[in-house]
Amino acid sequence: MDTTNKNEGRRDFLKKSTALAALTIASPALIKAGDNDEKIAAYFEKVPLELEINGQAYKLSVEPRVTLLDLLREQLGLTGTKKGCDHGQCGCCTVHVDGKRINSCLSLAVMSHGKKVTTIEGLAKGEELHPMQEAFMKHDGFQCGYCTPGQIMSAIGCIREGHANTAEDVREYMSGNICRCGAYPNIVDAIMEVKKGGKQL
């Protein structure tokens, strides 16, 4: 993806737009929200961001408004994490930050400064799958596969949090991950199996 182009465009605009004067108008909240998204964005310079993603260290410079999801997908090409709603309502975008599951569409990239992010791409060790990936394969825990990365990341989180003791438990703590194909029964089976396997995840 040609991110350079896009960012260059914005920087040009910033120069042209007598931005420094504009910055003195205090809090961007004063500008009518929605109407001026792009202008507000243009007033901000990029900020540095250092983080680790799937074991690799990154030194980036991002706009403060960029979500972790967009950073992963659009700037780093890690498209395994999916966007289903962008509003925290479907769970497709679930990743781990310092081992905890979060909706990456609801998290600004800058919030992960200094942290360790794991995405679906970071689970397997080469060819060797993570136990949860194996269990999803074995139990056919998907149909179209679009929700699957989020389900798997969330499922690992669910077990780590100690919330997978019963099938009922799993249902409760996986209810934030929508699967429109309705692969739910198999998803529950997959998670229960990994839980019973007792491996440290």
């Binding site: 914005r10 998204d37 934030g176 429109r180």
Partner: protein
Amino acid sequence: MMNIDSYTHVRGESVYLDDIPLVNGTLFASVFDSPVAHGKIKSLDIDAAMKMPGVVRIFTAADIPGENQIGGIIADEELLASTHVHFCGMPVALVVATSDEAAKAAVKKIKIEIDPLPVITDPREAKEKNELIIPPRTFQLGDTTAAWTQCDYIIEGSTATNGQEHLYIETQGAYAVPQENSAIRIYSSTQGPTQVQRTTARVLNIPMNFIEVDTTRLGGGFGGKEDQASAWGAMCALAAWHLKKPVKYSLHRMEDMRMTGKRHPYSSDFKIGLNKDYKIVAYEVTFFQNAGAAADLSPAVMERTLFHCTNSYFIPNVKATAYSCKTNLPPNTAFRGFGGPQGMFVIEAAIAEAAAALNVSPILIQQKNLLKTGDEFPYGQIAQSEANECWDKAVNLYDLQKLQQEVDAYNNNNKLSKKGLALMPICFGISFTKTLMNQARALVHVYTDGSVGVSTAGVEMGQGLNTKILQVAASIFSINPERIKVNTTNTYRVANTSPTAASASSDLNGKATEIACVAILQRLKEVAAEEFTADISSIEVKEDCVFVNGKQTDWSWNKLVQAAFVKRVSLSEHAHYAPPGIWFDTTKEKGHPFTYHVYGTAITTVTIDCLRGIYEVDSVKIVHDFGKSMNPIIDIGQCEGALVQGIGWMTMEEMLYDKEGKLKSNALSTYKVPDIYSVPKEITIHFLETEKENLAIFRSKAVGEPPLMYGIGAYFALFNAIKAFNPAANIPYDAPMTPEKVLMSLYPQTLKENK
């Protein structure tokens, strides 16, 4: 065999439209859509939007070089509104910018002035005003007028079923990349690549052979990407054609929900007559389909409602009339079941109403009227029925009597919690009801290293089609499945495809693949026969080896393939399949439209909380007619998934438009789809394996749509649970049965007093 996409699915490596690596210089599109449901456009002001950072160009109807038309069945829908808008969410302008955010920000700057015109959202009102998409149609069997005199009981009523948002987790989208000589490649998240190609050709006024549509897979379709994917493909192509730059548009969830059509809401009237033996003697039904603002697939959906208006029952006298009513909602479209579920709900409601009036169990009436082989459907086809087999098996296997006793005992012992049980038989015809669409082609190449590539017209959207196609090729060639790759669906490789729909795609594309593989295999066998100077009938290819008279030779599959190539024998085949024996005469409304029917029976048990109105589906126990399933893992997944979607439609998915035609349930926060917590606690599926001949691929019957209709059982189980609490409850047949409606039905008196 496991779904062939399993490995990439769990690793996040499966590629969907939004994951395709972008070509340098790609631009991003976003639509400005009408904020008003009906009106005349007075002015459209794009000046401020044009000045927004990153905006490259804004397209309107005036920029369309060809026809501003996307209507498939009827040419009644503009790609971009020119003079009038007909629904909230109708695309008016397309902003193209250097980033997705920039395009979306500029959309907000567009101003439109619209002189409002009257808005219709109710199909009955549309019918009154004669706003119809096509003239009404009537299916008739016997003579209902005469039959009423033979009835001991006649019961009438009305029903309503709401629409349903597809909510494919991958939203709609397309990505158009210009090619040399003004050709265009479109990556599209579509069930109908040819439909995207045809629509784009029409809009751009260029021939179809200049447009390549390519689809790897969909993150769900469910019918929503059958016709409704075309607009986005055509729009991206329009922009790419003008700008000579790649243009991508991946819709935001809220854009998608606002602008696309859904399952058709229906409002219906019924009149049912029974004799003393509870045999249904006559049935009259009138359907008012809420088509939305343009035809889209509504006429075909309406037709299927008529086909399935008697579900699994034989009724000697039937008169079913359907109106496709034009309203100012987004054009409603295909959704798993395609009008069938809407038709079946009404007959089930009629039976429930009759049972209540006669004070018998609806199960008795259902059972007494099940279709038998030899019975005639209202459209003239003679049934090859498995209805009784499925029903009896379910009743015995799951011990209906005991289940019913458990429910009764529970209800006797619990005051504020009640259980309900319902049976739901299904019968669903397989084939496109438009006979001409029942054709498919497959292109099979065997490469000189022995590997095989298969391309078909079918689109993989989670239903496991590609896995089944691969199984077909592997089984005909009798080679290791790992040698075979199923390729993307591409209009340059396989042309003039029907959309992947109607549950028929494994049959159509599977058979075409079978024919192609058989032809290649035949040629390979000829080569082997010559080599071993044996009769061709003594040659077999088995497990990657050549056998002569049952004895393994030292010729491997690879050696055979190479020998054929050296002999200049073709290793490729393009095959065509059109199922025989199907036809339909719309002037008489009679024929034999379906290659076969799929049957089944589900027993659903629910528990309602009589203080709060909330409920749980305890179990759904199914006997389903799979024919001879060629992939039980996939077929069970389809069955469970369809069931859950059906339950969602019948219980919790409440689509709401206001009087102005604005969608209120416009996000996942306001539109509830089944989550993992709301699916039945227990789903049991028993395979009714039938050895009878049928026209399904390897006799493995279609499974995509039929199980959705088991979900209707959840509605009636809730209905019965409410009755257990309040036998006098007068429950309207108005799906979905949301917890709110359950609560209101439990306490109708309180409701009245508080009004």
